[in-house]
Each structure stands twice: as structure tokens, then as C-alpha cells.
Symmetry: D2
Subunit: 427 residues, 4 copies
């Protein structure tokens, strides 16, 4: 790729690495993206509530958002910008060529994870001086790279817009971690006219020099927060007057673990956290469970969710307490569109530095891009997802590293060449 | 007491001891009672459905009834009698003096327990040749004595009817074991005009030579049968298609044990039996729990019942199965009417052979006479319960024995003198 | 195949169909097999304890065995025969050619299932007059066909013994249902010198005209009977003195359902039956759980078994009760020996009536032939399993049918030709 | 009482009210007490480790202690004092008269509770300017009054020491809340030569103008902290590698609720808090339960504790996790010594302002003075406990108030006159 673009892309990534923001708090990142897109020349730049359906927002903490707004304001993000975003994050640029052609969307995710970056002096961000400036937050999943690739693709396509037809939508999604943000973007309607969508993720099982085509192996998953509210009472004097939210939660945890296996595919259920009770001698009035289920197919995942719902309702009834379930994240399985993967395969073979193509279908976590892909396919479109390799030590690890100069150009090239191919101006 | 009456009473008791019948199957016993009452001269003799409200019948097994009907027919009970009884058991005689006075009811219970009588040659029924002729059935709680005392009282009162005023109702109750029969008698309405009711039980903590006045200590109790019906499926191939009644039952058992203690009195919960499942490799479609709860007060017992109901409904919901609860027995606490106990105390002091009066209030099981007493008190009447002593080895034991010649006259005297006192013809 | 052999094979199958015997009670069947093998001319015929290691017997009910012995004696099986068998079932014939060559074993299983045969007049055994003569028992899994094919193969090989080298062991295994019998045969040592072993099963997913080669899909499984023994007490008077076996069993059931999923393959756990308690008002002293676990790999199955063991021990400790686990059946996964399957494939192609070869690897229940195969492979041998097709309505169904005249010759031919190939006398 | 003593007592109480310290952190209070005792003239003044057995300390948080030490140092408590106390709190003064006579101990407890004092301007401490100066901490159980009464008694007895015989031990106990401190004082041996011990508590059901004699009604109780440590793993990728501390805790909570009722007295079990897990998608490695049990008798309480221990051990085994139980508090029932209560009754009748004597025996929480009393009685001594009334709005409430000028003199007089009576110098 062009050296000017390359230099900017790497510098952008390293800058973003210093200022990680977790899901739904990416105000500085969003502002950075919006400024860059406008500087490139995009006329239609959307941010926050323009591309976010509040009713579909998952796993957003008002408390964290408030703190992040304070920080962003302190770091120079204009109050009017945040206001205009409706206190939501994420951005999109739309390039209308004016020529008939497909509507193509690209997805880039922008949030970080809650990990403390290593102090190891050999770790590239330490060595080269761009380590995270925020305690307990780190781009340890490579989304700084995703965002930077997206901005480089944005500039590249804009500069070559005369060779393109149709419409290109560049979507910078918030809150991919915990699979929380994609549904809100789907809910905004921005994908409803999209013909082709392409998403990606760096790394995973895909090593440096490889491009991976995602045929399957993405587990459907639903993240759930469960709340029970009981009635407190003095456990010594009047135990019969209490309704224990703690007991309802414990029974729920035991029953959730016991949801039957499914004959049509692997399932998972994780009761990750349980917090209940106010004091040693008080019948507990509050309990909270943080959980997630997964399924090899959407049907298996739905089976798990439905069982959790029944169990929660049943225990609320059995223990005489109130219950509430909040969906904190959602992802489905990948829908395979072979014609799109065929295009990516062809393109990838020609990208400099690509030595092998991996056909990926073994289970590898969950990804909420699947929700976007599903919407596009439901409306008659097609899409796909690829990986571009890097030799990391493990995602979400304190020493995760991108090898940016080697890995990011591959991501850039696949995205850029894909759009130039499917939106090529035939004239 | 009169020697003629005494001899008949003892002979009756020993005869009944040879032919024990468990709750709701007392066809031969009922027929025996009815014949005797008619022979004495009672004009109004009621049996079976005349004093039994079918809707209030608890814990009656159609299967056991069918077998008992066969046996009774074989032993000479006329088919028309059983038909007239509507296949229900129990009897009553009503003595109307024609003179104004109170309506007084006496309760005598007639069923046996499922215990195999001992082979010990020293055991009185073995020694004297009146052991139970029925395998696994025995009058090991003394109801043969109760019935015989009742019949002796019936003859005594009838013979002295000219000295009585008001009305006397002699009630021979079926199915006291498991506290199943009293509610059906209450439901028939026969107690609705009763002013005074007196019940009794031999033994318990009351030793030979003592009469006990029951001030309290009778636990309220509800016996419940719980049924779950699930959906079977092949547990290996399609576990997700099954709905396990077994799991719902197990969760129910665990939650029932965990019903909170009550600050206002002792409670009990017993999960006595659980039977679930059809085969090793089939998701269980059926489960059955046999349980009972108790409470030091009716309110505590109600709290327990309500919790069981909620738990069963909650687990049905949680596991997606059907549930059903059947009340198999009911008793409440004793309502204390001091004026009645005062009368019994006075009378008892004068009864030959009575050396001491016990004032009883420590917990001593459940008794469904409490349901009759409750109804009488609700309608403005009063009542009470007493014990007449005997030195047994423990109720429901294989070697339980009444010491009939010594203990039964005391029971007879208290009942007889009580009626002669409260229904004395003032003229 | 030879018409004489064919006629005998079909007649044998139909005769066996009339006299089904469940696992470990196959005394009449064993006697029938032994008589036939001797009549054919085999000198070494083993039965019962000669091929059964008592310590490895799984899931054998002394009570059922006693009843079966009575029946067998009544049906003419000599008492000395049963005595000589040590009251165990199963048989084997050994053909020693006297010429150097491999030791080859064939497995035929002989037990029936507990299913009541349909009354449908169109059902072949009804139509042709060979329906099961035993209520609640039926050859609804085709083992009557297996046994008959085995006896036909026995005659065929014996008649052609001059063309064979090495040793042939024909093993008639009891108690395959519930995967109970194979381990006992393994334990006897009869397989320890075997170089090649071949087993089969009719039907499954294999349709008439097909032969299936079993590459995988057989789940490892362990059947477990769990017993808890507690301490009884009066649940109303002294609940603290009891130790509830019922509660320990219920907690065990709930925890077993909650054994974690395994990341390396499918698992199953079925709590099929739970029977606990003696009476409504007695703290339950006895509880019994009938269960099974399965795993896509032996390691996954072992993980499940180990968890069950821990859960049972833990609940015994928590509830202060005694526990006991009895292994009631065992099977492992298939070990694939491609060279053996290659031979079967080649042979099968030439068998008259075979239109297609199925390569089977999708999950299809458990089979304890796997335990025999495992032992042979552990000792350096090889082996395999095939299916011969039939168009049944489902195994263990009341109308299961073999279509014997069409399906059985295929089974016969594959076995017979296999031995003639691997034990061909080269001279 | 003497006006000088009265003024000092009230001023002391109001000063202590401004500086509440919770259990095991009472460094400033202890220093205050020690200084006062020395100023009065006591030669033997013990503090911290001199009267505390570290091995018997219950429910002490090193973290809270560290923070309290910092605060105390900041507020002028000398570092050497804290060091000399071994970082433990509590104090005692010993008055040896040199004349033969009984060893008499008085108990005064000094810690506060974690309650935020009300802002109501009518609340006496607000109105009169002595409200708690510490957020979330308040003397809302009256121990400021206990301590001040103790110091007034100390001065009074010292000033009248010539009229006394024997030895008097004035014990200022830390950490009574949560029944944590008494066992450590018992462990120090300071009570081993005590002949007579007297303790007290203000308020409860005892109204202003009443003195209450505690005959019974104090429940034995054990406070337990339960810890489970499991093995974390990725709940999606390798659930089988994790050992869930959360599940062990949930099963423990359910089983604890289900500990059988006790036939010989009321019991309680409260699972007040449960905190488990690290993240949504990680098998939880840590779990914590805060619980307490109670019993109407020490035997019933022991039954509960033993069951909890078995349940915890059983679930650790079942789930393959480590467990640890820490006793966080202990109290037993009151041992009644009628001769001591008789003395208090006699004295109290003569105390100005006392209008009635309450004979208390209904259940009223737990109190660790019972552990001291038990030790004294075990060594052949006797003792008792009384209440002096006040009209509060409820202990541990934000507006609890002592009505110090009216209620405290009663407490003072009973203690002072009691010692002057039992340790009267007969000469």
C-alpha cells in the first residue's frame, strides 16, 4: 500500500492504543474517527444516536458512560458533539458515488477490553512508547488496528471514488466486546438497504501471513443479567417474613447448570458471577447473576435462553420474589455466503504478504458481526467475514500485540480490494 | 360398669381386633357397627355417604376400596349395604330424646394401621386367641377399643335415654390414620347443629390409671401428594426434547426442606417418598412425592402449605412440566374450651380406677378430631378431647396392646358420664 | 447361500423369536446354541462361567436369574447344564484348524429387550406365527437374527474347515442390552490371543440392501446404579435424628444434571429413575438412582463418570449417609482399524443383494462390542464392526421386524466370507 | 448518685458517642479507657493482648484494623500504646483489696455498629451537639453508655475500696457486635479465677424505669464465614477444566436452608450473603458465604454448626473445590444462676427510678457475654445478666437513643451496689 497511507494507518493505530475506551464509552475514539472522516472529505458522517437504536442497546452502564463523558470533556471532546450523539458512541461514513451499483457495508469495531497492559519492556507498545495511558483498559483484542484499517480504507476509497459505483457504508461499531453493540446498529436501520457486507477480525487462530475465511465455528450466544428482588426480614426473629433473593439465585444457578444437553449441537452455559445479600442476619432482598449461554446453532442457543427464562420465572414463583432478565449481549452463528467468500479468497491470494488461506470452521468464540450479517441476508443481501493473521500471545492477554506494520496492511488490502471489486465502476 | 355391658364391650373389641381394616376400607367394621346400633334400638342409623362428603374425602385409594369391597362381600356384607353407603365407610347413630337440650356429639374412630402383628406368644391377642387375621394389618393404635367403647356407650345411653334431654350423635369415623376422614364428616354437615363435642384417644403419654385433658400440643398438619408429569424422550439422542418430571421433583424436595423456619412456632416438613422415572435412558415423564407439613399453630401450618404450593408451581414452570397437588390428609391444632375440660376433669376424678389427671400440652402428633372440634366451635359450640391411659409399648408398634379389661372401662365411663351430665334431663 | 443353510437359519431365527430372554437370563437360548454347536460337530464348546468373569459381570439381577432358571428348568433345560454354567449365560465354539494362522473371533449377541410385541396382525411374527411367547419380552433389537446368523456361520465354517487356517472363535454374548455382557467376556481372557475380531448389528440407520462400515459415532457410555443408605427417624418428633437418603439422592440428581459440558466432545447424563423413601412421615433411609453417562470420546465419558463419583461421595458426606455405586454397564467408542474395514468393504461389494456401502460415523448409541475390540487392539490385534441393513420401524419398538429372509443372508455372507478370507488356508 | 460522678459519666458517654469505633478497631476508645483508669488510680490496667487470646479472636479484619490504627495515630494515640496492645483492643482494670473475698468481674462492651446516624434535628445527639463524627459508624446499640457506666463504676469502687474485700475485675470487652470478642477474653484466662460475674445491656424489651433479669431467651449462635476456592477456566472453550466455587456455594446455600428442624428446640439458619465469581465467561474460582446459625439450646446450635460443616465438606468434594470455614462469632445460651439474679432483684428494687422488675425469658437475640458466664460457671463460679431500661426506637436504628441522664444512673447503681454487696468488707 501507499507509504503515506501506511504511515498514517500505523500512527493512527498507535495513537488509539494509548487511549483505549471500553464498550459504550468510546467518546474520544468516536470523536477522533468523525474528525478524520470529515477531514478526508466525507460529507455524510453519522455518529452516536444516528446509527444506534436506543431500544436495542445491550450491556450499557449509565455510570460508566457518565464517567467517560467527564473524561472526554476533560480531553477536549466538545460537549455539543457528545450531546449530538445522544451520549451514544460509534460512527459511520457514507460514500454515495452517484452511479448505480450495490450498497456495500464494511464493519470496523472500536472498543477495548478491561485488561491491564503488561509492564514487560519487550512488549512493543512499551518499547516503542505507545502503551495504554489508562489503568485497567487496553486494546488487547486489536480493535485499535481494526479502526485504523477502517480509516485507511476510508481515505483510500474516497480518493478512488471516481472508479467506484453504488454506495459504500463504513461502519465503526461500538461495544463489540460482550457482543453488545451490533444489535443497536441493526436496530437503527442503516443496514436495511445493504446488498453486501464484509467484516473482519485480526488474529484468532489465523497466523501472520494467513487470511482466514470464516465458514462457521462462530457460536451463537446470549449474555444475560438476572436480577431477583425479595423481601428482607430479620433472619433470627422473623425468618418467615423474608423472601430470599439469594436462595432464588442459588436455585437458578443450579438449574441453569442442569439445562439438558442438546442432541443437535454443542451448548454452553456459564454462571459467571452471583452477588446476593445485605448482611449476615438479614434475609437477602437482592441478588444478581451474570451469565451467558452459547449454542452451536441459533436454535441450540435459543433453547438455552428459553430454559434460562423458564428457570428464572419458576424460581421467582417458588421463592415468592420478583425477577428481571436483561439481555446484555447477543450474537448468532455465521451465515455462510459462499460467493462472497470466493471473492475474498481470490483477492487474498494476490495480496502481498499472504502465504496461505485458512478455511475456518472450528469453534472460535462469538462475534456480534453475525447479527449484522443476519440482517443483511434477511433483506436479500449477502456477506462474509474474514480474518487477517498476526502472531499474538492470546487475545485479552496483557501482552497481546498486533505486529501492526506486518499484519495491518493485509487487512487494509482485503477490504480495499473487495470494495473496488464489488463496487467497480464498470464504465 | 355393668358386667353385661363390660363383657359385650371386651368381646366386641377382641372380635374387631381379628378383622382390622385400613382407612376408607372399613366395610365389615361399618356393617358390624350398623347392625349393632340397630339391634340396640337406634332408629336413626346413618352409614357411608350419609355422613361423608365425597368432595372432602382425603387420601382414599379406589384400588384399595375395590379390593376391600370384594373381601367384605366374601365375608357376608350385603352388596345392597355397600351400595347404599355409596362405597364409603363410617357410621352414626342419632338419639333424639324429644326433650329440649343440647346437641352433643361423640367421636369414635374405627380404622386400623398397616402393621404386621407380632408373633410373640406373650402378646395378649396371641395368648388369648384374637390376633389379627389379616396380614400386614393390625389395630395397633387402639381404634378397636375406641369403636367398642363407642358401642357400649351407645347401648348405655339408649338404655338410659329417659334420663336424657337434647340430642346425642354417636359418630364412628373412618380413616383417622393419616388424618383423612374427619374433614369428610365435617363436610357432610352432621356437626353443624352440634353444641358440644367430645373425642378421645387411648394411650399416648397417658399411662394406665390416668385420664389426660388435651389443652394443646396437637400439631396442625397437612398431608400432600405431589405429582409431576413431564415429557419423555431418548436421553441419549434427544435430551432437549424431554421435560424431566424427576428433576422437578428433586428440586421440589430440596426447596421444601429449605422452607424458612417460622418465628412464631415450630414447623415440620417431611419429604417421605419420591418415586420418579421409567428407565435408565429415558427422560422421566412421571414423578410422585409423598409429603407432610406440620405447624405448632394453624398459621404456621398454613405457611408451610402455601410454600409447598409455590415451590411446586415454580418448579413446574422452571422445568416445563405439569404439576398436581392432592391433599391426602388434614388436621389442625386443638381449640381449648376450658369449661368442657373442667367437666371432664370433674367426672374423671370419680371414675373408678382413675388415679391421676394429666394436663396435656406438649407436642404429641396430629389428630383430625381437631377438624370436627373446629367446625363445632365455628358454629358457636364447644368441645374437648381426653385420653384414657394404657401401658403400651408404643403406638403403631407390632406389639401395641390395650390392656382392654383395665383401660376400656375408663373410656366408657368418661363418655357415658359426660353425656349424662351435659344432657341430663332436668325434670 | 446354500438353501439348506438358509432354511435352517430362518427357522432358527423364528424359533428364537418365540422365546426371548433378557440379559443374563438366556438359559434356554444358551442351551439351544450349545446343543446346535455340538450337533454341528464342534469339539470345544464353552458356556456360562467358562467365558464369563464373574467379577466383571455388570447389571445382573439375582432375582431375575432365579426366575429364569425356574422357567428354563420347566422348559427342559437340564439342571446339570445350568449348574455347569455357574448360572451364567453365553456360549462360544472354538474351531482349531491345526494349521498356522490368525486367531479370529466373531461376536453374536443373544439377549432380548423388555418390550411387549405388537398385536398388529400385519406384523410378520403375528402373520407367520412366530410371535414372542413371553409377555413383556421381545427380540425387538434383532439379536434373534444375530444368533441365527452366528449359528449358520458356525455350520458353514465347520463344513469348510479344511480350507481354513488358524483358529476361529465364535462368541455368543449375553446381555448386550444395557452394555452389560461384553466386559465379562473380556474378563474371561478368551480374547487375549485374538488377532482379528469382527462384530455386527442389524439395522440402525442402515437400510435393506446396504452394508455399513462403522468408522465412529459409537458413544462411550457407563451405566451406573447409585444407592444411598441413611438413618430413619420420625419426621415429626425427631427430624434431627434422621439422615435422609432421599435428600442426598435429590441433590445428586441435580448436581449430575449440572456436570459441566466438555469442550472436547459431546457428553450425556441421564438420571432415569429415582426411588426413595419408606413412608410419608419417616425420614427416608433408602434411595436408589438409575443413571447413565455418555461421551463422544472415552475421555469425555471418563470425565462424566468421575464427576458422578465425586458428586455421590460429596452428597454422602453432606447428608451423613452411606453411598454405593455399582457399574451396571460399560461401552467405549469404536477404535477404527481401516485395514479391517477395507476388507469388509471389498467383501460386501460382492455379496448378492448389497446395493450400497454406508460409511458410518454419526452418533448412533452405544455398543459393548467396543469393549471386546478395545481388548483385542490393546493386545496388538485389530478388528471392526459392520451393519447389515433392514427396513425396520425403529429398534426397541413393538413392531420392530427384521425382514429375515432378505436381510439375514447379507449378514451371513459378510461374516462367512470375512473368515474365509482372513483365515484362508494358503496351501 | 454523686453529682460529680454523674456529670463525668454523662460527659464521657457523649464524648464516646462522637468517636464510635467498630469491633476490633476500638483503639481510641481503648486508649481513652486506659488513661481514665490510670488517672483514677488503678495500678493494674491491662489492654489489648494482655486480655485477648489471638487464637480465639473471631471476625477481625486486618484491613479494618490497619485503617483504624492509622486513624488512631492521627488522633493522638501513641504508637507505643498500640504496639504494646499487640494491635488488639479492649482493656481491664483489676482492683485487689488485699482482703480475702470473692473475685468479681463486671463486663462492659465498647464497640459501635455500622449505621449512619440520623440527621433528624430532634435526635438528642444532634440537638445537643454530640453526634457521631464518623460516617457510617454510630453507637446505635448503647455501648457508649455501657463503657461510661463502667468507668463511673470504676471510679466509685476505687474511691470506696476500703469497704471492699476480694478482687474486682472491670472488663471492657471489644467486638461484642457479631458476638466476636468475648471468646478471646475467655481465652486469655482472665476469668479463670472469677467467682462472680455480672454483665448487662441497656434497652432491648426493657423500658425506662425497668430493670430486667435475664433468665433465658438468649439464643446460642455461631457466625460462620465460608470460603470456596475452585479452578478458573474459559467457560466457553474448556468448561470441563474449571471447578466452580460458585456452584459449590449455591449448593451449600440450598442444603443449609434444608438442615432438618430439631425436635428439641427452635433453630435458625441465615445465608445472609453470597459473593462468587470473577467474570461472565470464566468458571468462578472464588466464592464467599456469610452465614449464621442459632439454637434454642447449645445442643441445637451445635447440631446446626455440625451440619454446616458437613455440607461444606461435602460440596467441596462434590465440586472438586477447596473449602474453608472461619468462625466469625460465637455465643451460647444464658446459664441461669438464681442466687445471683435474686441479689440483683433485691438491689434493683431499691435503686431510685426503678419502677418495675422484668423477668426476661423470651427469645431476644444473641449475646457473647454468655461465653464469659459459661467459663465462670465451668470453673465453679456463678453469674448473671441484667438489663437497664430506656425507651429507644430500636437497636441498630439510625435514631437509637439512650436517654442517658435518666437511664444510665440505673445501670451504674445496679453494678456499683452489686459489688458493694458481694464484695462487702465484713470487718
Amino acid at each position: 500500500m501507499d507509504k503515506r497511507l501506511f504511515d498514517e494507518m500505523i500512527a493512527t493505530r498507535r495513537h488509539l492504543h494509548t487511549m483505549p475506551e471500553e464498550g459504550w464509552t468510546e467518546f474520544e475514539t468516536t470523536y477522533f474517527i468523525v474528525k478524520r472522516l470529515r477531514e478526508i472529505g466525507y460529507e455524510t458522517v453519522l455518529a452516536g444516536k444516528d446509527i444506534i437504536d436506543p431500544a436495542s442497546v445491550r450491556g450499557r452502564s449509565e455510570e460508566l458512560v457518565n464517567a467517560a463523558v467527564e473524561r472526554a470533556l476533560g480531553n477536549g471532546v466538545p460537549a455539543e458533539f457528545i450531546e449530538a450523539c445522544g451520549r451514544y458512541t460509534g460512527a459511520a461514513a457514507i460514500l454515495k458515488t452517484g452511479r448505480p451499483g450495490p450498497v456495500t457495508a464494511l464493519r470496523f469495531d472500536i472498543d477495548c477490553v478491561c485488561v491491564q497492559e503488561t509492564d514487560d519492556p519487550e512488549h512493543a507498545p512499551n518499547k516503542l512508547g505507545f502503551r495504554s495511558g489508562r489503568k485497567g483498559l487496553m486494546h488487547a483484542c486489536g480493535h485499535d488496528g481494526h479502526t485504523s484499517v477502517g480509516l485507511a480504507v476510508a481515505r483510500d476509497l474516497f480518493e478512488h471514488r471516481d472508479a467506484l459505483c453504488g454506495t459504500i457504508k463504513l461502519i465503526f461499531q461500538p461495544a463489540e466486546e460482550g457482543v453488545r453493540g451490533a444489535v443497536a446498529i441493526v436496530g437503527s436501520g442503516i443496514l436495511d438497504d445493504v446488498d453486501i457486507i464484509l467484516g473482519s477480525h485480526v488474529g484468532g487462530k489465523c497466523k501472520l501471513g494467513h487470511v482466514g475465511l470464516v465458514h462457521g465455528g462462530v457460536l451463537a450466544s446470549t449474555k444475560l443479567d438476572i436480577y431477583f428482588e425479595g423481601v428482607p426480614s430479620h433472619a433470627g426473629n422473623a425468618p418467615e417474613k423474608g423472601k430470599s433473593a439469594l436462595m432464588a439465585a442459588c436455585a437458578t444457578a443450579m438449574m441453569m447448570a442442569g439445562i439438558p444437553r442438546h442432541g443437535e449441537g454443542a451448548s454452553r452455559v456459564a454462571v459467571g458471577k452471583l452477588i446476593a445479600g445485605e448482611g449476615r442476619n438479614v434475609v437477602p432482598a437482592h441478588a444478581y447473576i451474570q451469565t451467558e449461554v452459547r449454542g452451536e446453532t441459533a436454535a441450540v442457543n435459543d433453547f438455552m435462553v428459553k430454559n434460562v427464562e423458564q428457570i428464572v420465572a419458576g424460581n421467582a414463583l417458588a421463592y415468592g420474589v420478583q425477577s428481571r432478565i436483561v439481555v446484555a449481549g447477543e450474537a448468532t452463528t455465521i451465515i455462510e455466503c459462499p460467493e462472497i467468500l470466493d471473492i475474498v479468497r481470490e483477492i487474498a491470494r494476490d495480496v502481498p504478504g499472504v502465504e496461505a488461506i485458512d478455511e475456518l470452521s472450528t469453534p472460535a468464540g462469538s462475534e456480534d458481526f453475525t447479527m449484522m450479517l443476519k440482517r443483511v441476508v434477511e433483506h436479500g443481501g449477502r456477506g462474509g467475514m474474514f480474518r487477517w493473521g498476526c502472531n499474538h500471545h492470546g487475545h485479552h492477554k496483557r501482552d497481546f500485540e498486533l505486529q501492526d506494520t506486518e499484519s495491518m496492511p493485509v487487512g487494509f488490502e482485503v477490504f480495499s480490494r473487495f470494495v473496488r471489486r464489488v463496487n467497480r465502476c464498470e464504465g
